[in-house]
Symmetry: C2
Subunit: 341 residues, 2 copies
Amino acid sequence: MRVAVTLKDIALRAGVSQATVSIALGSSGRISGATRERILSIASELGYRRNLLVHGMQTGRTKSIGLLMSFCGRFEAGLFEGISGALDAAECVPFVLRPSRDVPVLGQIHALLDRRVDGILMRPTGEARWERHLHEALDRHVPVVSIDVETQADAPQVDFVGTDDAAGAAIAAETLFGAGHRRLACISTGDFPTPMFIRRKAFEAAVEKEKNATCHAVHQPWEDGIDGYAAANEVFSQSPRPTAVFVTMDALARGVYRAAAERRLRIPEDVSVIGFADELIAGLLQPPLTTLKQRPVDIGRIGAERLLARIDEADAHGERRRVLIQPELVERASLGQPPKL
Amino acid sequence: MRVAVTLKDIALRAGVSQATVSIALGSSGRISGATRERILSIASELGYRRNLLVHGMQTGRTKSIGLLMSFCGRFEAGLFEGISGALDAAECVPFVLRPSRDVPVLGQIHALLDRRVDGILMRPTGEARWERHLHEALDRHVPVVSIDVETQADAPQVDFVGTDDAAGAAIAAETLFGAGHRRLACISTGDFPTPMFIRRKAFEAAVEKEKNATCHAVHQPWEDGIDGYAAANEVFSQSPRPTAVFVTMDALARGVYRAAAERRLRIPEDVSVIGFADELIAGLLQPPLTTLKQRPVDIGRIGAERLLARIDEADAHGERRRVLIQPELVERASLGQPPKL
DNA sequence: CTGAAAGCGCTTACAG
DNA sequence: CTGAAAGCGCTTACAG
C-alpha cells in the first residue's frame, strides 16, 4: 500500500518548512527562487498530490460543483458535454444528482452543500418544489445557475441559460405562414414554466398577429412516453381540417404521424408537421421531421461558464442574468404547402 | 449571509465539550443519554450541517465516488438511474467525468483521487489507455468496479458487472436456427474487449456448432454514427443470399433496413434481422426490430452496490468478481422464417 | 524570501 | 458518560 505523501514529507526532504512548501506549490504569492525548483522536483519525484479536501476547507473553494439533472435523450447528453468541457478547463468536477420522485430535492441540495460545492448548476424539472429549496444554497453564498428551464420569482438571483423558445416558436409560425398555411394547429404538453409551455404561448401569440390565421390548440398533460396521438386525432377531426401542425416537442410528432397514417393523410402533401428540439426521433420519422434545432452543447458550456464566473465574483445575490440561445430551423421533409382545395 | 454553524457553537450552547457533541451527533459509539437529546435538538435548531470535507479527512470516507462514463443513449441513462438509486441509499454522491479524446484519463483519475473518492465506478471505452492508469487508484486502496465492459489482465482486481453478451448472442443464434435459418450473416463493429466484439465471437461460435449453418461475417471499424449500410450491401450481394442478419448493436440495423429497402428485400419475408441492446431505435424502425434487451438499470445498481461493498471491505486488491446479467429476447416483427426457395 | 505558529472543523484515543 | 488534548493536512497572517 502506498501512503499519501504530505507537505511534511516534502519539507523534510527539502530541508525547508511546511509553509514554504505550501507556498512554492501554490501558484500564488511570492516566488521562492531556486528553492521552488527544488521543492517542485521533490514533490513530483515523491508523487505528491495535494489533498483537495483540506485545501478546499482552507480556501473555501473545492473546485467541485453540484449538477442536478437527469439524462434521457440527446439534448441532455449535449448539455453534459458542454458542461464537462467548461468544467474541465477550470479543473472543476461535478457531483451529479438525478432528480427523482423518490429523493427529496432538499436532501440533494444538502448533500451538495455538506460537501462544500462551489456552486450548483441545475436543470429544473417543471415542478415547483425545486425553487423554494434554492435558498439553502443562496443563503450560504453558493451561486446557482439554471439551464433550459428558468427559475421563477422565488429565486431571482439564479442566472439562466437556455434556448430562446419564444423565438423558436415564432420561427415555426413564420415558416408555416411563409409556406401559405393559415389554418394551424398546436399540440402541446408541459405546464408553466417548461420550455414547451413557452413555445406554445409564443406560437399562439404569433398566430394572433397574423391576418386570417387561426390555431386549434390541444394541450395534453405531460406523461412519460407521451406521443401526441390523441391530440392529433382531435386536430384531424376538425372541419375544416388544419393544414399544418406545430408540436412543442418532437416526441409528440410520433403520434401525429400515426394518426395521420391511420386517416390516410400524407405528410406533407395533406398536412405539414413541424417540431421542436431536433431529438433523435426527428431524423428517424418518415418523412423526416422539420424541426427547430437547439444547441445543447452551447447551453451547457455557457451555463457552466456563467456559474464559474459567479463563483469567482463571489456574488451569489446579484441580479439574474439571462442568456438565450437562438434555435435554428432544420428543414427536412415534413413541411410543404397547404393542399389545394 | 449565514455563517456555517460548527460543533463549537453547539458545544457552547449545550454547555458540553466539542468532543461530546461530535460523539452525540455521530451514530457511532457510546450513547449520551439525555445529553444527546439536548445536543441533537440544539443542532437542528441551529441548522447544523456537518462539514463533510473535514469529516472525510478525519475518517477516510468521503461518501463520494468517481463515475467515469459518457451519456449517449437509453442504455447509459439506465445505467445512471441504477447507479444513482444504489448510491442514494448509501448517502453517497458521484463525481461524474466523461471520457473524451481531449482529456487524459490519468488527469481524471487524479482529479478524483485528489478529492479522496471512496471508490471509482467506470464504464471503460474500448481503448486500452484506461487500464494502465487504474493502478493509481488501486495502489491507494481505492477500489474500482467496471460496468458493461470488462477490464483486462492489467487490472485483475477490478470487479465487473455487465450483460452476458455471449449468452445473448447464443440466444440470437438459437432463435434464428429455431425459425429455420441456416444461411446467416453477422454485421459487427467494435474491437476487443467491447461487448460487441464478444457478441460477434459468441454468435460465430454458435453457428460453428450448428449443423449445416454458415455465417457470412462483416466487420466494420467503429465510428460515430455507424449504421451498417455498407456491410449490409456486402451481405445482400452474396449468392446465395443469407436469410437472416444478426447485428451486434441495434444502430447497425438502420443501415441494414436501408440497404434492404433499396434492394426491395422485405423484412422479415425476404430477410430476418435481429439486433442487440434494445436501444430506442429498435422500436422505431419499421418493422420494429427483434433484439436482445439488456438490463442497464440492474447493471448500474449492482455495479454500484459491488463498489460500495468493496469500500466497506476495505479490500481493493481481492480477486475479481464478475456478475453477468442475462439479456432477454424481445420479439418484435423483424424476424420470420426463411423465404421458401 | 523563509520559519514558527495559529487555525480550519472535525474525530479519536486517553484519562477521569 | 464526558472533557482535555492531540492530530488530520493544509493555508495564512505575522515576524524575522
